[in-house]
């Protein structure tokens, strides 16, 4: 039976170990950047894995937001302001956050499972015995791919939600908001700072999710139970981290 003290020390130890792990990943980044083909492979895997779910979710979120937003704004005679509403909500908040949560569930869990399985089947050990550093060859490229892919996916999400499917389709085509008004408002209410902050957020989220995923996979117990636990931990811890980071970043960016 583990006493509560040792549970706390275990958690602290895990936290500390994660820091050292992150340091070794960062140290391996230069060598990983020297292998663009490996990186491209990983970005493709991560991006393609997540693309469909991001596109579909972006559309649905945009559509729901259009319905809700319209209903609320029309009471104030401000239905034409749907564009502003969208620009602010999607670009600043829902875009980065929802994309990151979906990313954690799809790509993050897959990443943790893949690395955990490589550990369980001695592939990582095998690499070490072949004098190949698994952190340089396996972990760092996947980490970089995650950090790189997240802002891109977030922009695609925003594009789907605001432009193509969601807001535009429902707001303009279905509910009759004026096309010109919608776009000109988005144009005027979206400043470079908003887009920049949104990209910063999604990059930070990408780094957090990728870090958590590779850490969980790399330190998983080499059993099927261990891998499964690593996968679920990745999703849970990532989601909490995303929401907490969102709070901190939003307070500093948009107060």
């Amino acid at each position: 039976m583990k006493g509560s003290f040792s549970i706390i020390t275990d958690m602290l130890q895990g936290l500390g170990r994660a820091q050292f792990f992150l340091l070794s990943i960062i140290g391996a980044i230069p060598s990983a950047l020297l292998r663009p083909r490996l990186l491209a492979q990983q970005v493709y895997a991560v991006g393609v894995m997540s693309l469909i779910i991001i596109v579909i979710s972006g559309s649905f979120v945009g559509m729901v937001l259009a319905l809700q937003g319209y209903r609320t704004l029309v009471d104030f005679g401000a239905a034409e302001s749907l564009g502003v509403f969208f620009a602010v909500v999607i670009v600043r908040e829902l875009g980065p956050v929802v994309t990151a949560l979906l990313f954690a569930g799809r790509a993050g869990s897959a990443l943790a499972a893949e690395i955990g399985l490589m550990k369980a089947t001695d592939q990582l050990s095998g690499m070490e015995m072949m004098a190949v550093d698994p952190i340089k060859r396996v972990i760092a490229p996947r980490f970089i791919a995650g950090v790189f892919a997240m802002p891109l996916l977030s922009m695609i999400f925003a594009m789907m939600a605001i432009g193509i499917a969601g807001g535009h389709a429902i707001g303009v085509n279905l509910l009759g908001v004026d096309d010109g008004a919608y776009w000109s408002q988005i144009h005027s209410s979206l400043h470079w700072e908003d887009i920049r902050d949104s990209l910063v957020k999604s990059t930070v989220f990408g780094a957090a999710v990728s870090w958590i995923a590779v850490y969980q996979g790399y330190h998983a117990a080499p059993t099927s139970e261990g891998v499964s636990r690593a996968t679920t931990s990745t999703v849970v811890v990532s989601s909490l981290a995303i929401l907490a980071l969102d709070f901190i970043l939003t307070a500093f960016m948009f107060h």
């Binding site: 490589m118 089947t121 001695d122 592939q123 050990s125 095998g126 690499m127 070490e128 015995m129 072949m130 004098a131 190949v132 550093d133 060859r137």
Partner: protein, 275 residues
């Protein structure tokens, strides 16, 4: 227990090894000499930590006390780059082959060549085909690990382990779970590769007859200590009752059949009383 070392110098020298995994003591003062150019068997019951010994020799794990020397160099005092240089001279065959699942057979064997040498692709191709030919799997080069049987995976692992022409090859339980034919194939490969390439081989196994039939030298390790060492014949004629039980596969002897428990009659009687 001092070893009866042959006249050949030892490629690997382990002295006074102490290693624990958590509360369990795995090695309690172990001395092992691996003679150059020969096949040495490490035998013992499951869970004694035979795989651990290989990882310690390879520098993956650190002993609590004692030294491990590879070709005169202390493995554990090396910094990372030097350790990696040492490892390039060692090849290791893991129990399940440990092939990279996203690469084909060809790419798996080419992996160490691509990572550690600047050889042109044409040369790498030739080398890979030669190694695959040596293990009899040249025709399987485009298959993926998921399409291979266990025995085939191990043979590919073996081809990969000798890709860089190492000085030492370590085999971790190569015969476990193999059908007689695959076992025969692996046994022949281990022996013939060792002789043809001038390798030093360490075979960790508890398949007694199989491993003894191809070894020049053997150790029996149990309970953290070396119980016996010598040529296969001297092991077979050992006085130690433990070694004899192990070699003959007898169910009872120094390793008891019954897990420690109270007297049988008492246990049955108490059951009635506790109700």
């Amino acid at each position: 227990m001092t070893t009866n070392a042959s006249d050949d110098a030892a490629l690997v020298r382990v002295r006074g090894l102490n290693f624990s995994h958590g509360p369990r003591v795995i090695y309690d003062g172990v001395d092992v000499d691996i003679p150059r150019g020969k096949v040495t068997a490490i035998m013992g019951p499951s869970g004694t930590g035979k795989t651990t010994l290989l990882r310690i020799i390879g520098g993956q794990w650190r002993p609590a006390a004692g030294t491990v020397e590879f070709d005169g160099v202390n493995v554990h005092t090396q910094r990372r780059t030097a350790l990696y240089e040492l490892r390039k001279r060692m090849g290791m065959l893991f129990q399940n082959g440990a092939l990279l699942t996203d690469l084909s057979v060809f790419e798996n064997v080419a992996f160490p060549l691509r990572e550690h040498t600047q050889l042109p692709e044409s040369m790498i191709r030739d080398l890979v085909l030669m190694k695959l030919e040596a293990v009899g799997l040249r025709g399987a080069r485009d298959l993926y690990p998921s399409q291979l049987s266990g025995g085939m995976s191990r043979r590919v692992g073996l081809a990969r382990a000798i890709a860089l022409d190492p000085d030492l090859v370590m085999y971790d339980e190569p015969f476990t779970g193999q059908d007689p034919i695959s076992m025969g194939v692996l046994m022949r490969l281990i022996r013939s590769l060792n002789d043809a390439l001038g390798l030093t081989s360490i075979v960790v196994s508890h398949d007694v007859e199989e491993v003894l039939s191809i070894s020049d030298y053997a150790y029996v390790i149990a309970s953290g200590k070396v119980l016996a060492s010598g040529t296969p014949d001297s092991i077979r004629n050992s006085d130690s009752p433990y070694v004899q039980q192990f070699l003959r596969g007898e169910p009872d002897g120094p390793v008891a059949f019954h897990y420690k428990a109270a007297a049988y009659a008492d246990d049955l009687m108490n059951k009635g009383a506790q109700k």
